[in-house]
Symmetry: C3
């Protein structure tokens, strides 16, 4: 096995220098796409999507294609692995020999709604793959989204240190994974923003993630706080990142989880009244897809603060940067 | 948004000059494919197929690939849009930023069997996409098939003005969309053929389409007629285009529609007896797939008049021409 | 139709010289991949997978991609053919015009569990396709796997003539196709190995295949034998190829077939005790996917004799060689 291979599974595994390097490459490929049209000629990216995706799939396939390589897409039907008859070791060993990198997407429901179960499978996959593995969202992390969001914030603000960033929970009709909120607070604290998690007490994140965030903030000169009150959370914030996720108090039990969630319906929604409390140059972010007028009102997501389409577009450049960084020519 | 982007949604939106231009480019790429192997390098075509397809999918993916670009295929599972949780605006806004063009296929059943419902969705998609959108068949139009069929007729006959063209309805066990018949009579009248719609009275097309066809014929110097008698329709015709479609009198109500359709079983079928009534140099066309010996007998589709495989093959060259025309380098 | 097109449907149709040529090209592309990065520029491989696949799909898509061409993947949903409404003739005629080669995968269940039914469909497909057709596994043959396995054995042993090769049946919870065992004994006898089929009497292969194997062995200077006793079979063998397949005595009748199979559970499994009976330099092969500890124990498949991942990897180079051989530039 190649011990020097660069898996991209969790931004916590990467040094700030390497992450900064990704941002620099992304900036460069966004500016001069034609320079890189043949950079990864002959290289293939094997995609294993146990769960479907619009943005991650399209931005990844375009990324490798615009670098001169190509993607091979596998949906869960094309894979014998996991819940069918093949061991992760065998699938990963074989695909790791065909491709120059592998991208794996594996939501909680793939294995079972046991927190960390998909993430453990992904780690095992990476262990047996000769080529680097990119986590395209598992049940704990969504690192490509996270680093891409840093890129977008930098693009908007230039200097991002100590910017007032809030991650605000929102009501949503279904229990959603914890990957985006986990990765978001980890990376924002790592890059030294002043991060506030705004959520009902039942929606507090995994303690391990919280502790890492406190540690990140300390090391980076940022800060990390938790607030359970919406108005207080939004007040004077510069970056408003809204997302729904499920409660760890009833993880995998959608009936019980619903009981916890229902009281927040129509209350924990990002609307213009809340946005008025924020800094006048504040930006509204969401990783999409989003249920409009349930998670966020149309006037906010279509309004002057919203940068959600720029945010989605930037995934393309970050994907290119990640591929250029981890695939050895 | 790019107001000058060239969507290809309905041939009626395009001038005859621009359509002629597509035909000219198609001729050129068919003759000299190697000249265009790198024309669209770095460009991607995002395909959103809410309904599956053999010809449209393969001819489109080969077209972009042979021009040096690449396709990203999304089936309905890969899309959150529409009947899942994401708005058309969000999906179209995001995909329109990743790709150089988008191809959308959306049959009636995607939304609901309400005539024009899918077409309206496609128009909304095009409105929010930054890059040009190609209609790969919705519930009203199939413009790529239509312009490709003109290309094929030109290839066979040279001069196509005032050629006797019939579009003949045929029985089929299921109610099929109106997109092909609508687009066929619109384009054939636009190019000045003498067009006759041959169908039972219950299978008359949408009045708006008929009126546009009369107007097209007047402007182009062609003609447009409707005949409800098979033998009379076939008599002396030079181009016999056979297709089944559903009755607007029971649109979306397959039980009621079946009652209308059943009496025509084994009667409204294209057979050699009918073909004997046609001009001796006549050609038989069908867009495929076809139910053999229900819509058309084997001796006709496999016989000397049939050009159905040339017709299918030409979709490739027309697709290339459309891509070259609408993608801005 | 192009009568000189080179279909690759069954290794028996190919001369030993042409098969040796494939091996030579494969060796060359494995050694110098960069030399071939543009060899098939502008060429597309149409893939029709009526059954899903991990290895065959990925190795084929990477193969054409690394030769500068591209694949167009069709799953059974994208095809109207066969059990939907389109005739094989029409699908094959059309796809054969879009692509430079077609790869078809069609297990027994696609048509019906009638032995040879899928193979007959594949032959019909090839008859109507203008471009060459590659059999990516039907209900009788898996020629790409077979020739790839010869490549792997040559790589390990150099001279393969009269090497002691066993194909050993193994218990598996489901009835599996006969394609791999059929193609394996055909090719190994053709290349002059000393081949022994080791299986319970109910798992004897098709008599036609057996007779061809005897004939192959006679012509190549190899040998072909059948043994119903596991220990005797394994003794002193140099290449141990393990695979499960269903009994022809109850083909397509999974209930009856299970009754035949069940007594062999936990007995017909490849384990280290059996491996100890083999030559000390013996190699263990399996085409994967495999049910670990049912077909073969972990200590064997993960042990020093096992070359299963090299075996899987080599499919890539053989695929490239096949494509280079059959696609006319």
């Amino acid at each position: 096995m190649n011990k020097n291979k660069l898996d991209f599974i969790n931004t916590q595994d990467w040094s700030i220098e390497d992450l900064e390097d990704i941002l620099k490459i992304a900036e460069e490929v966004k500016k001069s796409p034609k320079k890189y049209l043949h950079s990864l000629e002959g290289h293939s990216l094997g995609l294993c999507f146990f769960n479907p995706s619009t943005r991650t799939k399209n931005s990844m396939e375009v990324a490798i294609g615009q670098l001169g390589g190509f993607a091979v897409y596998n949906d869960s039907e094309s894979l014998w692995m996991g819940y069918k008859s093949e061991s992760i070791k065998d699938t990963a060993s074989v695909l790791g020999r065909y491709h120059s990198a592998l991208g794996i997407r594996m939501f909680p429901n793939v294995v079972q709604w046991e927190y960390k179960a998909s993430h453990r499978q992904l780690l095992e996959f990476a262990k047996y793959s000769r080529c680097p593995v990119i986590n395209l969202e598992d049940d704990m992390y969504h690192p490509c989204q996270a680093i891409s969001d840093v890129f977008t914030i930098k693009e908007k603000f230039g200097n991002i240190k100590n910017r007032k960033f809030i991650l605000s929970w929102a009501y949503h009709p279904k229990p959603l994974p914890l990957s985006v909120p986990n990765s978001t607070i980890l990376i924002m604290t790592k890059f030294g923003l002043d991060v506030t998690l705004v959520c009902p007490s039942e929606y507090i994140l995994d303690d391990e993630i919280l502790q890492q965030s406190y540690k990140n903030a300390k090391e980076s000169g940022g800060s990390f706080n938790i607030i359970h009150d919406l108005e207080n959370g939004y007040k004077d914030s510069e970056i408003i990142y809204v997302k729904s996720w499920c409660s760890l108090k009833a993880y995998g039990n959608s009936k019980e989880e619903k009981k916890i969630r229902m009281p927040y319906k129509d209350k924990w929604i990002c609307n213009s009244k809340l946005m008025e409390l924020t800094d006048k140059n504040s930006i509204f972010m969401h990783c999409l897809p989003v249920r409009r007028n349930i998670v966020v009102t149309d006037d906010v997501i279509d309004g002057p603060h919203s940068i959600v389409y720029d945010q989605a577009e930037n995934r393309l450049y970050i994907n290119k940067a990640i591929l250029l960084k981890i695939i050895q020519n």
